[in-house]
Structures are given as structure tokens and as C-alpha cells.
């Protein structure tokens, strides 16, 4: 798997001596008046499974196409293994790409599709067959070698595209929305297959996706992009637990955002403790932050619904709010309760459905208490 193993933690981005495989240095890409990538600097390390995540039009595909050689930066440089690859055409880059449409050659069989790149490399002819067989085995396509792309299913086509792009053992594999065309169940299976293959081959993967769940599942690090810039580059858990902006917090998963003002700290309070006044009448929210926030600063308090507990009895906790259940979204394994704690402020709380429906006691219009610890949420300034 792409996740770090317990004994050897894979985190070259934390190691100042590690040399990145790919370096974007102040890269800007303009199409006419439109700036697709705006002065972007980014390091990607060897053997990473790196996800570019963002809404459509954020520049993630342009960034990937620049790595593939299909676009050239307007300004700045891209280095691969220390070499500036700006002027290198796609056919001379040690980079392969798996296209969103798969781009399988319809006039060639599965076997010939996979062998296509090898035949154009300096690999001896007798080794090509072995390599293709190996790829067929890796992607479990052995039975379909003699078929044409239109004679196999969508999932199989996706694997042919993967096998074809991996056949030349590239230093870097680019995957453009590789699972976008698959149905949900197949997509989940394939995500794990991709991670297995990435680990087996040791290739560096860069994946473009708009599906945050997919990015979180497969990637060692995720870059959240917006309007041609990077909002945050971090591991999936950091992105989720410690987003650096309301944009990232809101883009990844579900979140409650409460706007408030920092209170003057009480004497003897812990250094990182902050209290946020979000309403003139209600008790302020107690939270922690190491940002060193000044009193009276406007902030957003972000907390994930699953970190908010819901109960009918008033609990003992750092933060307790009371309110009325407006809505219940039943998702089978969990339920999300929309609780109005103040006029106009609705907080979502999630609870695992450990009991069966008929045994649960919360329902619409019920008066409930919401609670969370002082470390459950994050304080965001932007």
C-alpha cells in the first residue's frame, strides 16, 4: 500500500536531505488571458503516490499535462531528476501517462497496445514479449491479450491503459482521472489495485482527481488546488484533521464552520488555549491553536461532524451547546443530525448507528446536547 509501513515511515518530504524527483519552480502557465497555473512551486519525491485534487478548472490537469510534455510552462521551470524538462518533447521523457479516456488504440489488440511503447524503445525484440506477459499478469489481463479494446469491459480497458503506461517502466506515471469512468464499486476495488501496483513496481504516481475520497484513499500526499495555486500540500490525515484554510476544510469532507472573534485570554490560561466568541449571548467556544492569535481577530472555527457528540443528557465537556434536531440524514452505517443551536446556526453531528433503527431514541424536534473537546476542531484565519 501507499500508506507508510509502521517500521519505516515513508515521508521524504519531512527529510531536508531528500532530493525530490520532480520540482516545479515558480511555474506559470497562461492560455491567452487565462492564467491556468499561477507561480506554483512544488516538490514531489520518488515512490510517492501524489494526488492533485481540486474542482474542475483549478489547473490540475494542466499541471499534469506539463509533466507529460503536452504543455510547456509560460514561465518557470520543471525539473525531473534535476534535469529541466521544459524543452523535452513527450516521446523523449521518462514519463508515461494514463489518459482519462484511456486512449487505447482501437485498431490494435490488447497485446499490441501494451507492446506499443516497448516496440518504440531500444528494448530487444525477444524481451518485449516477456515484458508484455508480465504486464498482462500484473493487471490480470492474460485471457484478453488477443482481443480488441471494444471487445472488453470498461474495467478491463482501464487495466489495459494502466498496463500500457507501466510497460516502459517509467520514472513517473501520470494518471488523469483514471477511475472516473468506472462505477462506484469497481472504482473502490481498483483504487486498492492501483495502490498494490504502485507498491509492487515502486513507480512514482501522480494522479489527478476531483474525487476527494479517491485522493484520500490512494495518495501518500494530497495537493489541494484552487485557481491555479496550491492551497495545501500534506498527507491525507493532515489535510483532513488540520486544514490550513476554510477552503480546504470545506472541500475535503463535511465540516461545520463557525465564525467568531478571539477573546482576551484569561489569566493563567494555557499558552495555546483560545476562546472564540461567536454569539453575544452564548458561551464562547474553547479551542486550541498554535497560531498565536491576537485578541479581537476574526477567525473560523472548523469542526468535523463526527467529532461532535450528540446526547439527550447534558454531558461534561470543554464545549457544550444545546439545540433542537431539524433534520436527520440516515446513511445506513451513520446518521448525520442537523441541530439548530442558535437562530441561523446549524451544527452537524454524526453518530455511528450501533443500534438498529427502532432502538434509537433521537428524532426530529428533540432537544439535544452537542459536545466536543477543546482539541477536536481547528481555528482558521483564512
Amino acid at each position: 500500500m501507499a500508506q507508510p509501513k509502521p517500521d519505516t515511515i515513508f515521508a521524504p518530504w519531512d527529510d531536508p536531505t531528500a532530493k525530490p524527483l520532480i520540482q516545479f519552480k515558480n511555474v506559470t502557465k497562461r492560455f491567452g488571458d487565462f492564467t491556468a497555473i499561477d507561480n506554483l512551486t512544488l516538490d514531489i519525491y520518488a515512490q510517492e503516490f501524489f494526488a492533485l485534487l481540486g474542482p474542475s478548472g483549478c489547473g490540475k490537469t494542466t499541471l499534469m499535462r506539463m509533466l507529460g510534455g503536452f504543455e510547456t510552462p509560460t514561465e518557470g521551470h520543471i525539473f525531473l531528476d534535476g534535469v529541466d524538462i521544459g524543452p523535452v518533447p513527450p516521446n523523449e521523457r521518462p514519463v508515461n501517462m494514463m489518459f482519462q479516456s484511456y486512449a487505447l488504440f482501437p485498431h490494435l489488440t490488447v497485446w499490441d497496445n501494451i507492446a506499443f511503447g516497448l516496440k518504440r524503445s531500444d528494448m530487444p525484440k525477444d524481451e518485449i514479449g516477456d515484458r508484455v506477459e508480465k504486464m498482462l499478469k500484473l493487471t490480470q489481463l492474460g485471457k484478453f491479450a488477443k482481443r480488441k479494446p471494444h471487445q472488453i469491459s470498461g474495467g478491463q480497458r482501464q487495466r489495459v491503459a494502466l498496463a500500457r503506461s507501466l510497460a516502459k517502466a517509467p520514472k513517473l506515471l501520470l494518471l488523469d482521472e483514471p477511475l472516473g469512468a468506472l462505477d462506484k464499486k469497481l472504482r473502490h476495488e481498483t483504487q486498492f489495485e492501483l495502490m498494490d501496483i504502485q507498491e509492487t513496481t515502486g513507480t512514482t504516481f501522480v494522479i489527478v482527481t476531483h474525487d476527494q475520497e479517491e485522493a484520500m484513499t490512494v495518495a501518500s500526499r494530497v495537493a489541494v488546488m484552487v485557481d491555479g495555486t496550491l492551497s495545501q500540500v500534506a498527507t491525507p490525515d493532515q489535510i483532513y484533521e488540520a486544514p490550513n484554510s476554510t477552503y480546504v476544510a470545506d472541500f475535503i469532507g463535511d465540516v461545520n464552520l463557525i465564525e467568531g472573534v478571539i477573546e482576551v485570554p484569561e489569566k493563567g490560561a494555557a499558552k495555546d488555549a483560545v476562546s472564540i466568541r461567536w454569539s453575544s449571548t452564548e458561551t464562547p467556544i474553547n479551542a486550541t491553536s498554535d497560531l498565536g492569535l491576537a485578541a479581537a481577530a476574526t477567525v473560523h472555527f472548523a469542526i468535523r461532524p463526527e467529532k461532535v457528540s450528540i446526547s439527550t443528557e447534558k454531558p461534561e465537556a470543554d464545549n457544550v451547546m444545546s439545540g433542537k434536531i431539524l433534520d436527520i440524514a440516515y446513511l445506513g452505517n451513520i446518521s448525520t443530525y442537523h441541530v439548530e443551536v442558535a437562530p441561523g446556526l446549524i451544527i452537524k453531528a454524526q453518530a455511528t448507528n450501533v443500534r438498529r433503527m427502532s432502538r434509537r431514541n433521537l428524532t426530529w424536534e428533540d432537544h439535544v446536547y452537542l459536545s466536543w473537546t477543546d482539541t477536536a476542531g481547528v481555528v482558521l484565519t483564512s
Partner: protein
């Protein structure tokens, strides 16, 4: 299905009669026993036999086929290149003018095309002969090929070419090993169309042919001025047959093969 009324039947009969009755009469009389063209004297294929004895006609036929083959081949190469460039280069200043200039000869009166080519060949001092007819036919047939190939390339998934480049092809290799095989049906039907157009051209050929290079349409036209013979009827029947086969196979090739190729491509795209 629509109801088959008397009105429809009559329209259809008159329409087809208008189009094909003259040719039908020509075909019938090519099997006439009599030397007199308009008097029926029983069935015979003897004029076909005599036709194949006529050296002048056979020479003209050979010139026509040579011209048609070379001009359609050249037109296919140039027309495909033009179509490829026009579809691939995207937007640039003067693009509309460029594509307009490729298609303009389609609507240019043949007399003008023929005359301007004649003047051009005289200006550069090229002796008129088979080569000049080939060049002239290439010029006008190329537009037709480019129209046919363009319509195919527009629906071609460009990421297939990018994938080929990505896998190590040079741009030319990508065109040769990926694009060309996929658009081949359109290229073949373009070639057949160009071949047919060259086969039946009279106006441009008569401007650009020399004394030693008479094509069949010119030969027939000049022979007819001395009087229609049953031999001409027989020859015309053969040409009608050839052109019909050419046009039908061009449309069949482009229809069936490109429908299949497109369906394959679509199925390959869907995941």
C-alpha cells in the same frame, strides 16, 4: 413506413426517368446489332468486340487509367495532409481564409480552372502531356479528398495521438502508426472519389492534354462530333459501369468501415 400513394409513385418514376432514361437508352443501343444507332436490329455484343480491336480507344483508355491512378494517389496524399493540418493546428490568424482556399476549387467553374492551369503550364514551360493532366486532376480532386478526410478527423479522439507520443512515437510515427490506420476508410473513399472524378473529366483534361495524351472522355467527345457509332455506346456503357462501381464502392467503404471504426472508438472510450 410512409404510405405509397399514386402521387409518390409518379414523382419517383418521373424523377428517375429524368435522371437515368438517357443512359438506359445508351446502354440498350450498345447491344444493338445494327450500325445505325437509332434503329434496333436485334441483340448483339459485337460492338464490344470491335471496341477492343480499336487501338485509338484502347490507348486513350490506358492514358485515362494512368492519369486517374496517379492523380488520385497524389490528391489523396496532399488532401489528407491538408485536412490533417487544418484540423490539428487549431485556431490561428487567417485560418478561415486558409480553409476557404482549400475548398474554393470545389465551386470554381472547370473552364476557369482548366484555362488557368493551361496558362500556368505554358508560363513554366511544361510540355502538355500525361504529367500536366495528372497535375491538373490532382489540383481539383485534392479538395474533395480533403473534405472527406476532414470530416473523419474532426471526430477523431486527439488523446490517441498524445498517447502515441507519450509512448515514444515521433509526431510522424504517431501519425503513421495510429492516426492513419484509424482514418484509413476515409482516405480510401477519398481516393476512390478522386479516381472517379478524374475518370470522367472532360473540360480540364481538354485544356491540359497534349497531342500524345488523349483521355477517353476527350476521345469520345471528338468521335461523337463525327457521328455517334455503336462503338461509342459500348464504350460509354463500360465507363458508366466503372464510374458506378467506383462511386458505390467509395460510399460503401466509407460508410461501413467508418461506422465500424467510430463505433469501436466510441466503445473503447466508454469505460
Amino acid at each position: 413506413m410512409r404510405k405509397f400513394s399514386w402521387f409518390n409513385a409518379t414523382s419517383l418514376t418521373f424523377g428517375f426517368a429524368f435522371l437515368y432514361l438517357p443512359m438506359l437508352i445508351l446502354i440498350i443501343y450498345s447491344f444493338n446489332e445494327s450500325r445505325l444507332v437509332t434503329v434496333w436490329a436485334g441483340f448483339s455484343t459485337k460492338w464490344y468486340g470491335e471496341l477492343f480491336q480499336n487501338e485509338a480507344f484502347l490507348d486513350a483508355a490506358w492514358v485515362t487509367i494512368k492519369v486517374a491512378f496517379w492523380s488520385s494517389t497524389l490528391a489523396t496524399i496532399l488532401g489528407t495532409m491538408a485536412a490533417y493540418i487544418m484540423v490539428r493546428t487549431g485556431q490561428f490568424r487567417g485560418r478561415g481564409l486558409f480553409s476557404g482556399m482549400i475548398y474554393a476549387p470545389l465551386v470554381m467553374p472547370e473552364v476557369i480552372t482548366g484555362l488557368s492551369l493551361l496558362l500556368f503550364f505554358i508560363a513554366i514551360g511544361l510540355d502538355r502531356g500525361v504529367i500536366t493532366i495528372v497535375l491538373a486532376h490532382t489540383t481539383f480532386a485534392m479538395c474533395y479528398v480533403s473534405v472527406v478526410v476532414t470530416s473523419r478527423l474532426v471526430s477523431f479522439d486527439q488523446s490517441l495521438e498524445e498517447a502515441a507520443l507519450d509512448l515514444g512515437c515521433t509526431p510522424f510515427d504517431a501519425f503513421r502508426s495510429v492516426t492513419l490506420p484509424i482514418i484509413m476508410p476515409a482516405v480510401i473513399s477519398g481516393w476512390l472519389l478522386a479516381f472517379t472524378l478524374s475518370l470522367d473529366d472532360l473540360v480540364i483534361a481538354s485544356f491540359t492534354s497534349g497531342p500524345s495524351s488523349t483521355t477517353l472522355p476527350i476521345k469520345i467527345f471528338s468521335a461523337v462530333r463525327l457521328g455517334v457509332t455503336p462503338e461509342i455506346n459500348a464504350l460509354s456503357t463500360i465507363m458508366i459501369g466503372l464510374v458506378t462501381i467506383g462511386v458505390i464502392s467509395a460510399s460503401l467503404v466509407s460508410r461501413s468501415m467508418s461506422i465500424k471504426a467510430r463505433a469501436d472508438e466510441r466503445r473503447a472510450e466508454q469505460g
